[in-house]
C-alpha cells in the first residue's frame, strides 16, 4: 500500500471577475515507503502547487489525498491535522525556512516539543542524533544557520523535518539553490534516507537530470497535468509523451562533445486559457488533428507506465531504447 496517495487532485485559483486558473488538473500519483518519486516539469507547470496541496498547505478544489490509509482533511483554520505531521515538507531555500536567530539544536527541539515526541530533557540529545543522521556533527546544534553553507543548511532543514518521524517527505526543489558539489551530496543523502529509514520521498524538481539519477519513478507535468509516469529508467530511455522527450533532449551534456540541446518551439501557454484538446498540441512535433480537439487522459500504456498522448501506444511499440542526441540547426 502506498504511504501517500493523491487521486484526481484539482487546484484552482479563483480570480475576481475572471476565469479561475486551473493550476493542477486531475492529478493522481502515489508514493510508497522507501520509494523516491520524482515530479518534474518546467516553471508554471503546477508542480509546486501540487506539492503544497499534497501536504495540506493549499486547499485543493477537488480530489482526495490519502495518507497512511486515511483521507487527509483539508487545512483547518490554518492548522494542519495531527495525522499530517508524519507527512513533512522541505523547501527550496533553507535560509528562508530556518529561523536565523535561533540555534540549530533549538529549532529541531521545537519540532519535537510541538509534536510531544520527546521529553524536555531528551530533546537536545534527539536533536544531535538527527543532525548526525543527516551527516552533520552533533556540535552543529549550538550554532546558527548563517554559520553553515547552503548544502549544510539544507541538511539542517531535512533534519528538522525528520524530527517529526515522518513516513513521507515532500521536497520542493531541495537542490536547485545549491552548487553542483553540494547538490550531489544532498541527492545522495536523500537516497540514503529513503532506503535507510524506509521514507517515501516526493522530489519536486525542474532538473530531470538529477531526478533521473535518484528517483525510482518519475511523473512529468505540463501545464497543470501529469502527462507521463513510470519507472525512471524506462521513461528516460523511451519517453512515451513527446513533452518528456523534448525535456530529455533539452538537457545539455557536460562531456565536451559539443552536444547542442534542442529547443521546444513556442511558449508555455497561459494556464488560465489552456489550448483545446491536448494542452501540449500547439508545441508538439507529432500532433495531428485529433490532438487539437480531444483531450487525452493519462492512461496505462504498458506495464507500470502511463501517458496522456494519443500516440503513446504506437510510440511504445515503435521506439527502440536509447535517446541518441540528434543534431538540429538553431
Amino acid at each position: 500500500m502506498s504511504a501517500l496517495e493523491i487521486r484526481g487532485l484539482e487546484v484552482s485559483y479563483e480570480r475576481r471577475g475572471r476565469e479561475p486558473v486551473r493550476a493542477v488538473v486531475d492529478a493522481s500519483l502515489s508514493v510508497g515507503r522507501g520509494e523516491i518519486v520524482g515530479l518534474v516539469g518546467e516553471s508554471g507547470c503546477g508542480k509546486s502547487t501540487l506539492a503544497r496541496a499534497a501536504v495540506g498547505l493549499i486547499r485543493p478544489t477537488g480530489g482526495t489525498i490519502v495518507f497512511e490509509g486515511r483521507e487527509l482533511p483539508a487545512l483547518d483554520r490554518g492548522a494542519r491535522s495531527r495525522a499530517a505531521a508524519r507527512l513533512q515538507m522541505v523547501f527550496q531555500n533553507p535560509y528562508a525556512s530556518l529561523n536565523p536567530r535561533r540555534r540549530i539544536g533549538r529549532q529541531i527541539a521545537d519540532a519535537l516539543a510541538i509534536l510531544g515526541l520527546a521529553d524536555r530533557e531528551e530533546r537536545p540529545r534527539r536533536a544531535r542524533d538527527l543532525l548526525e543522521r543527516v551527516g552533520l556533527p552533533a556540535t552543529a546544534a549550538s550554532r546558527f544557520p548563517h554559520e553553515f553553507s547552503g548544502g549544510q543548511r539544507q541538511r539542517i532543514a531535512i533534519a528538522r523535518a525528520l524530527a517529526a518521524d515522518p513516513s513521507v517527505l515532500v521536497l520542493d526543489e531541495p537542490l536547485s539553490s545549491l552548487d553542483a558539489s553540494a547538490q550531489a551530496q544532498i541527492a545522495n543523502l536523500l537516497v540514503d534516507l529513503s532506503h535507510g529509514l524506509g521514507l517515501g520521498l516526493l522530489l519536486i524538481s525542474h532538473d530531470l537530470g538529477i531526478v533521473h539519477q535518484v528517483a525510482d519513478r518519475v511523473c512529468v507535468m505540463y501545464l497543470g497535468e501529469i502527462v507521463e509516469q513510470g519507472p525512471t529508467d524506462e521513461v528516460w530511455a523511451r519517453p512515451l509523451h513527446p513533452y518528456t522527450e523534448a525535456l530529455i533532449h533539452a538537457i545539455p551534456h557536460p562531456d565536451g562533445r559539443r552536444f547542442m540541446p534542442e529547443a521546444l518551439p513556442g511558449e508555455v501557454p497561459d494556464p488560465a486559457r489552456p489550448p483545446s484538446g491536448c494542452r501540449f498540441h500547439p508545441r508538439c512535433p507529432v500532433a495531428f488533428d485529433r490532438c487539437t480537439h480531444e483531450h487525452p487522459a493519462l492512461e496505462p500504456v504498458v506495464d507500470h507506465r502511463a501517458a496522456a498522448c494519443w500516440l503513446a501506444a504506437e510510440r511504445a511499440l515503435m521506439r527502440t531504447p536509447g535517446t541518441a542526441p540528434r543534431a538540429v540547426e538553431g
Binding site: 518546467e42 553542483a180 525542474h206 528516460w236 557536460p254 562531456d255 552536444f259 547542442m260 540541446p261
Partner: protein, 321 residues
C-alpha cells in the same frame, strides 16, 4: 588573433574590518570570434573578474593587473574613456533580464537609448536598427514588440531582447553572465542556439560565465575553471571537459548527473564546502577538499603551468595522460 588579454588581474574589496581578495592573479586570452567560458561555483570570483574589466565594481574595490582590449589597457584607462570603449565595443547580458530592464520604459526606448547616446543616432535610425536586431534574435512581430514593456514577455523572450540590446552598438565582445540560468531547459536550449548562431554570423567574441558545464560543453571553445578566485585549469573546452586534469575540475564533473550514466549510481559530491573569499586556505585553495594533495599543496600556491594546449595549477597532476 587575441581580442582581449587579461594578465594577473587581482581584485581586492575592503570591508569595514578586513580586505577580501576576490580575484587573485587571473590571466587568460579571448580570441576573435571565439567563445571563452568561465566556469566555477558561487563565490569563485568568475563574475567579479569580468565586472572588474568594465569598471563596474562598487567603490572600495581595487583592481590591479592589466586587460588589453584591442591594444588598450582597460584597467589603466580613465573612467570616461572606459565607458566609451565598453559602451561601444562590449555588450553585456545578465542572468535575469527582468532586473536588467527598466520596468516602466518600453522595450524600444531601452534598446535605442544606448545607440543614441554612444553614436548620436537619430530616433529613426536607432528604431530601424532595433527592429532588425529583434528580427535577428527571432522576436515575433518586432514592430509590435518595440512598443511593449519588459513584463509582457516571457523569460526566454526577454533574454532574447536583452541580447538584441547588447548588440545594438555592434560590439566586438559580448559578455554573457549566466544567460540561461534563470530559464527552463527547453527555453535555455533556444538561447544557446541563438548565441551560437550570432557568434558565427557576426564573428563575435563571447565571454560566457556559467556554473553549468553542460552549457559550456555546448558553446565554449576555450574554458577556464575558477576556484577561490584563481584559474585552476584552462584549455580547449572539448578536451578539458572530456579529460579534466585538475582534481577540482574532475571532482566537479563527477558530481554532475550525466544523461547517459545509469540510474542509481551515487553521485560523487565534493567533500567540504567551496572556498569563500575571506576564509581562503593557504597554498592551493582547493587542498582541504582534494584527495591528491601533498604537503607542498598546503603551503605553496601552485602556478598555472602551460602544458601544451592546457594550463594547469596543480603540481601533482594526478590525471596526466
Amino acid at each position: 588573433m587575441t581580442l582581449l588579454a587579461v594578465d594577473e588581474l587581482r581584485v581586492r574589496v575592503a570591508t569595514d574590518d578586513r580586505t577580501l581578495q576576490i580575484v587573485d592573479g587571473v590571466s587568460y586570452e579571448v580570441g576573435e570570434g571565439r567563445i571563452f567560458g568561465i566556469a566555477g561555483e558561487s563565490g569563485s570570483g568568475k563574475t567579479v573578474s569580468v565586472l572588474a574589466l568594465m569598471g563596474l565594481l562598487p567603490r572600495g574595490a581595487s583592481v590591479t593587473g592589466s586587460a588589453r582590449f584591442e591594444g588598450d589597457d582597460l584597467v589603466a584607462m580613465p573612467a570616461a574613456q572606459l565607458r566609451q570603449v565598453c559602451g561601444r565595443e562590449i555588450g553585456l547580458v545578465f542572468q535575469d533580464p527582468l532586473t536588467s530592464f527598466h520596468p516602466m520604459l518600453s522595450v524600444g526606448r531601452q534598446l535605442t537609448e544606448h545607440l543614441r547616446h554612444h553614436y548620436g543616432a537619430s530616433r529613426g535610425d536607432a528604431r530601424g536598427r532595433a527592429l532588425a536586431l529583434l528580427e535577428e534574435v527571432r522576436i515575433p512581430d518586432p514592430a509590435n514588440a518595440f512598443d511593449r514593456y519588459p513584463h509582457e514577455f516571457s523569460g526566454g523572450m526577454r533574454q532574447r531582447i536583452a541580447i538584441a540590446g547588447a548588440l545594438m552598438c555592434e560590439p566586438r565582445l559580448l559578455i554573457a553572465d549566466e544567460p540561461t540560468t534563470a530559464l527552463d531547459v527547453t527555453v535555455q536550449a533556444g538561447i544557446l542556439r541563438l548565441i551560437d548562431r550570432l557568434r558565427r554570423d557576426r564573428a563575435l567574441s563571447v565571454i560566457l560565465i556559467t556554473h553549468d558545464l553542460g552549457v559550456m560543453s555546448a558553446l565554449a571553445d576555450d574554458l577556464a575553471i575558477f576556484y577561490g578566485g584563481r584559474i585552476v585549469e584552462n584549455g580547449p573546452a572539448t578536451e578539458l571537459l572530456a579529460a579534466p586534469r585538475h582534481p577540482y575540475t574532475r571532482a566537479l564533473l563527477e558530481a554532475l548527473p550525466h544523461p547517459e550514466s545509469g540510474r542509481g549510481e551515487p553521485l560523487r559530491g565534493i567533500p567540504g564546502a567551496p572556498a569563500q573569499p575571506g576564509s581562503l586556505p593557504s597554498g592551493c585553495v582547493f587542498h582541504p577538499r582534494c584527495a591528491y594533495a601533498v604537503d607542498s599543496c598546503r603551503t605553496e600556491v601552485p602556478p598555472l603551468r602551460r602544458l601544451g594546449d592546457r594550463a594547469l595549477a596543480c603540481p601533482v597532476d594526478p590525471f596526466a595522460p
